[in-house]
């Protein structure tokens, strides 16, 4: 890559012993195309079958067996390209990438080298502080996956599982536009969310549906690009961030100690959180790419591409905009809720006709917090969108206070009951009856005549003490607004 990435105005810098360093990161993400069948054969592409149960004659590279392109996989790649605001190449070519390995039956991988199906595009990432940045996409190409070698099943033999052999992958290559682990993580998060909205990849990194290779280099701010290393096959966003941070620290230390960075491929060790060398540039394969003569160039109909463009589902950016505009959410809440379509649908169901910002708050803080603790996905939430909405209604209509609502919510999580049931059964109803509250205030004032005198003598700060005492007397159920008003009348009056 010869392009010099332009650092953003606020490019985060890393402090070394000898001065500041700028980090340059580019990612290659391999995303498995959501498809029933493989890229060039009719065999099933689904996850979880027994070894070698999903292998056709083509996948096993039997003599004379030929690849035939799966139209649906092409459609998925085009939709993804459209979702990445990218140029769709109406003419693209499949090449053979030649190398020998036991789990690569043909002795070559069918990929796209010089003429990919999707060209340049970009996606917008949102960082934790709410700022956004555009990250360039260099290309997206279709290729087939290899099989899997298992070296730990037998003392002297390796076993091969060809279920993945021929499964369609999209390799999505970013520009070297990222400058921190946080940006890289935000990029992968955003990319995954776009793919999920499109339904073109399930984004399940732990199942290997998405994995990333990270190209990392460091340089003095504004200097020429440094030598990069590539850390392969990272299968979680956390590992991506860890690998980048450890690689950045390593590179800075090597250079500051007077050494040089070698262009090489590295592996991330999840147990140590460090990267280690896999192979150097000198050991790199000569892949002898050439157009696959078994396949004709892929020519797309412009009208068909336009049809796909018109029928794209709502994407995260549009949804986020709508959440901000229609529901008045903060950029951060909107980004969080628009991360995947299920979350957004859940939110929209809960927020319909209610205090939408309050619902967003409850969802982002209380619900996600609770699900995290319970180790549950949103889909498995014991509280339904409607129940969360009802709870927010009870806060809005003054039936319960925000604090009590947290207790009610805890019972809802446990039992799955409606908030009204919990409020009724557990007696959480807020006391707004002025007579009852006045009686409590009178008791509190009678028990603390010294404090009443101090307050009336000018010690305003004691007001909070009285509020606390009354709330305590009401076991938290008194309406805090009513308590405030009545207290002020009685103390001041």
């Amino acid at each position: 890559m010869t392009d010099i990435a332009t650092p953003p105005a606020t490019s985060p810098l890393v402090e070394g012993r000898t001065g500041q360093w700028e980090v340059v990161i580019g990612l290659e993400v391999h995303a498995q195309v959501s498809s029933q069948a493989k890229l060039f054969s009719g065999a099933s592409a689904t996850f979880g079958a027994g070894p070698n149960e999903h292998v056709s004659l083509v996948d096993a590279a039997m003599p004379g067996m030929l690849p035939v392109i799966n139209r649906f996989c092409v459609e998925q790649a085009v939709k993804t390209g459209l979702g990445l605001n990218a140029e769709i190449n109406l003419f693209s070519v499949f090449d053979r990438k030649n190398y020998f390995y036991a789990d690569l039956p043909q002795g070559y991988q069918i990929s796209q080298f010089k003429q990919p199906i999707v060209g340049e595009g970009s996606i917008t990432i949102t960082l934790a502080d709410g700022t956004t940045r555009d990250i360039g996409i260099e290309r997206l190409h279709l290729e087939q996956d290899a099989g899997k070698s298992m070296h730990d099943q037998h003392p002297t033999k390796s076993y091969i599982d060809l279920n993945r052999s021929g499964v369609a992958l999209m390799e999505i290559v970013s520009r070297p536009d990222m400058h921190s682990a946080e940006e890289a993580a935000a990029y992968v998060t955003k990319l995954r969310s776009i793919l999920r909205f499109l339904g073109t990849c399930d984004g399940n990194m732990e199942q290997g549906s998405m994995r990333a290779d990270c190209n990392v280099s460091v340089r003095r701010p504004g200097a020429e690009l440094g030598t990069r290393t590539e850390t392969k096959n990272l299968n979680s966003i956390r590992f991506i961030a860890q690998a980048i941070n450890s690689e950045v620290a390593r590179q800075i230390e090597v250079i500051e100690d007077g050494g040089t960075i070698h262009q090489e491929t590295r592996l991330f060790d999840t147990s140590t959180g460090q990267t280690r060398p896999m192979r150097s540039k000198e050991d790199a394969h000569d892949y002898r790419y050439f157009p696959d003569p078994d396949l004709l160039p892929l020519e797309l109909d412009a009208a068909w591409v336009e049809h796909l463009r018109q029928n794209l589902p709502e994407l995260p950016d549009a949804l986020r905009q709508r959440l901000t505009d229609e529901f008045g959410l903060s950029a951060y809440d909107a980004a969080l809720i628009s991360e995947d379509r299920q979350t957004a649908a859940w939110y929209e169901a809960a927020a319909a006709g209610r205090d939408a910002k309050l619902v967003a708050n409850w969802m982002a803080v209380e619900l996600f917090g609770a699900l995290n603790r319970m180790g549950l996905d949103l889909a498995d939430s014991p509280v339904t969108p409607d129940q969360l909405g009802q709870l927010v209604d009870r806060i809005s209509d003054g039936t319960i206070s925000g604090r009590i609502a947290k207790d009610v919510f805890a019972f809802m999580l446990e039992s799955g009951d409606d908030p009204d049931q919990v409020i009724e059964a557990k007696g959480f109803k807020q006391v707004s009856d002025t007579g009852a509250i006045e009686a409590m205030i009178d008791t509190v004032m009678a028990e603390n005549t010294d404090k009443v005198d101090e307050y009336r003598g000018g010690k305003d700060k004691l007001f909070g003490f009285f509020v606390g005492q009354v709330m305590k007397a009401s076991k938290g159920q008194a309406n805090p607004g009513v308590v405030n008003d009545l207290l002020r009348q009685k103390l001041d009056g």
Binding site: L57, A60, A61, M62, P63, G64, M65, L66, P67, V68, I69, R96, N98, F100, Y101, A102, P105, Q106, G107, Y108, S158, I160, D286, R288, Y289, F290, P293, D294, L295, L296
Partner: protein, 498 residues
């Protein structure tokens, strides 16, 4: 018996329909002929029991009036075609013991039409060769022998790579033979053995289930006794196949009708180009004069022959010997000892690969894998592979240009008659030169046919080639019908069964 063996496929089909012979009788005759001529090493595997079963089934269908186009016709299958349940090796040690669980589309078409499978036939290893001497099963001997001259008494090559198929046809140990043609592998052996051989338009016959040599050049086609049989067999072999992305979805012209039309009405007005560039140094006078005779035969039937120029012809062979090995080096990577065929164990995976491929591939295959790997390597790719592809385009353009003016081209099939076994395998370059007239049609993807046109002064068959534009196999059949009638080639190889 000799009456049965001398029948063409068209005649045999007639006799079967007329019940003057049965499919079982016909098959038995060919099984015996294969026994009698076994010395020529044409067959690598005989499937006589299967043949008898198939012949019995054919007789039943004939009796019920449900006979197919090739009902009861015995066929020997080049070992490049995968045959379900029958060992298929491409004449290579590396595929020894490989029994495909599937049938190639082309052979499936033949069986669907009622043909009877006699066995698998010898060829050059992975179809790489022009003399059938690179086979792991050993060379095949041409049933033809020189009646005089320096080759007299010597065993001759049947040509290659479909050398076994042509030898079996000439020896009359099969009645039809499907071949494959990457640079001349059907037409050159057909010419050397006094047979008709057609390489159809690229994509006419599905490549599915044919062991790949060079994917962009490989094309299956018929080797037959005469032009009518060629039309018949081609009709059965070709089909659109969604399992081959390069298969053509266009109807085949009615070749039997084209044959009958030419026989009845001649080829009045057909324009035939005589390419200047096909006159090569060192070409024997008798081939030049046969070529000229062929021109006169076509003119006598009403054709107009004109000189044409295909200026990039001289670059065809070098381009071919870059593109074909490049594709082969990649296509043959799958023979790694991991899943099927032969494996030689090693200390590591790389060692196992090296030992398996070292032991499994013969010298010619290794030579082409090395050439192909080299021309695709970083730093050489542009200079060799890309340049060869550009040359290929220029050669295609040459043909497009001349076919704007003519309907077909007439050339010799080969620069010589059959040569002695062992003569040319020592010198790969001179063996490569055998393909000089046949390679351009493969590079352009256009159809071509070789027709026996006469005997050399040594008494060996010589062929003339017709080349037509894409999809015009009917033009080839018409021109070939005229050449065949005029030549009146009725010689039979001395090594033929009787």
């Amino acid at each position: 018996m000799s009456d049965i063996l001398s029948m063409t496929a068209v005649a045999a089909r007639q006799a079967l329909d007329n019940k003057t012979i049965s499919a079982v009788e016909l098959t038995e005759a060919y099984i015996k002929a294969a026994d009698d001529t076994a010395d020529n090493n044409a067959y690598v595997l005989r499937t006589s029991d299967k043949a008898m079963e198939m012949a019995k089934a054919s007789d039943k269908r004939l009796a019920k009036g449900e006979a197919g186009l090739l009902e009861g016709i015995p066929v020997g299958v080049k070992d490049m075609f995968c045959t379900k349940g029958v060992e298929t090796t491409a004449s290579s040690a590396i595929l020894k013991g490989f029994v495909p669980p599937y049938e190639s589309t082309v052979t499936e078409n033949l069986w669907q039409d009622g043909a009877v499978m006699l066995g698998k036939i010898n060829c050059d290893e992975f179809a790489m060769g022009s003399a059938n001497e690179t086979s792991a099963f050993g060379a095949v001997t041409n049933p033809w022998t020189a009646s005089e001259g320096p080759l007299q008494g010597k065993a001759l090559t049947p040509g290659g790579s479909s050398g076994g198929s042509a030898a079996a046809m000439a020896a009359r140990s099969t009645l039809l033979a499907p071949g494959t043609d990457t640079g001349g592998s059907i037409r050159q052996p057909a010419a050397f053995c006094g047979l008709v051989g057609m390489k159809p338009t690229y994509g006419r016959c599905s490549r599915r289930g044919i062991v790949a040599f060079a994917s962009s050049l490989d094309q299956a086609g018929p080797i037959t006794r005469d032009v009518a049989d060629c039309a018949l067999m081609m009709t059965s072999m070709s089909s659109y196949d969604s399992g081959d992305s390069t298969s053509i979805d266009a109807p085949l012209p009615d070749l039997m009708d084209a044959f009958a039309t030419a026989k009845n009405k001649g080829i009045k007005g057909m324009r035939i180009g005589i390419p200047d560039e096909y006159t090569v140094d060192g070409m024997p006078d008798q081939i030049a004069s046969l070529w000229d005779t062929g021109r006169k035969w076509l003119e006598d039937a009403g054709a107009v022959c004109v000189p044409v120029s295909l200026p990039h012809t001289q670059y065809a062979l070098p381009a071919y010997y870059i593109i074909a090995p490049a594709e082969a080096s990649s296509n043959l990577a799958r023979y790694d000892g991991v899943r099927y065929g032969q494996r030689v164990d090693g200390a590591s995976l790389d060692d196992m690969y090296a030992k398996t491929r070292g032991a499994g591939f013969g010298d010619e295959v290794k030579r082409r894998i090395l050439i192909g790997t080299y021309v695709l390597s970083a730093g050489y790719y542009d200079a060799y592979y890309i340049k060869a592809q550009k040359v290929r385009r220029l050669i295609q353009n040459d043909f497009t240009n001349v076919f704007a003016d003519v309907d077909a081209l007439l050339t010799p099939s080969t620069p010589s008659a059959a040569f002695a076994l062992g003569d040319e395998s020592k010198d790969p370059l001179s063996m490569f030169l055998n393909d000089v007239f046949t390679v351009p049609a493969n590079l352009a993807g256009i159809p071509a046919i070789s027709v026996p046109a006469g005997l050399s002064s040594d008494g060996l068959p010589l062929g003339l080639q017709l080349i037509a534009p894409s999809l015009r196999e009917d033009t080839l059949i018409k021109g070939a019908a005229i050449l065949e009638s005029a030549a009146g080639f009725d010689h039979v190889a001395s090594g033929a069964a009787s």
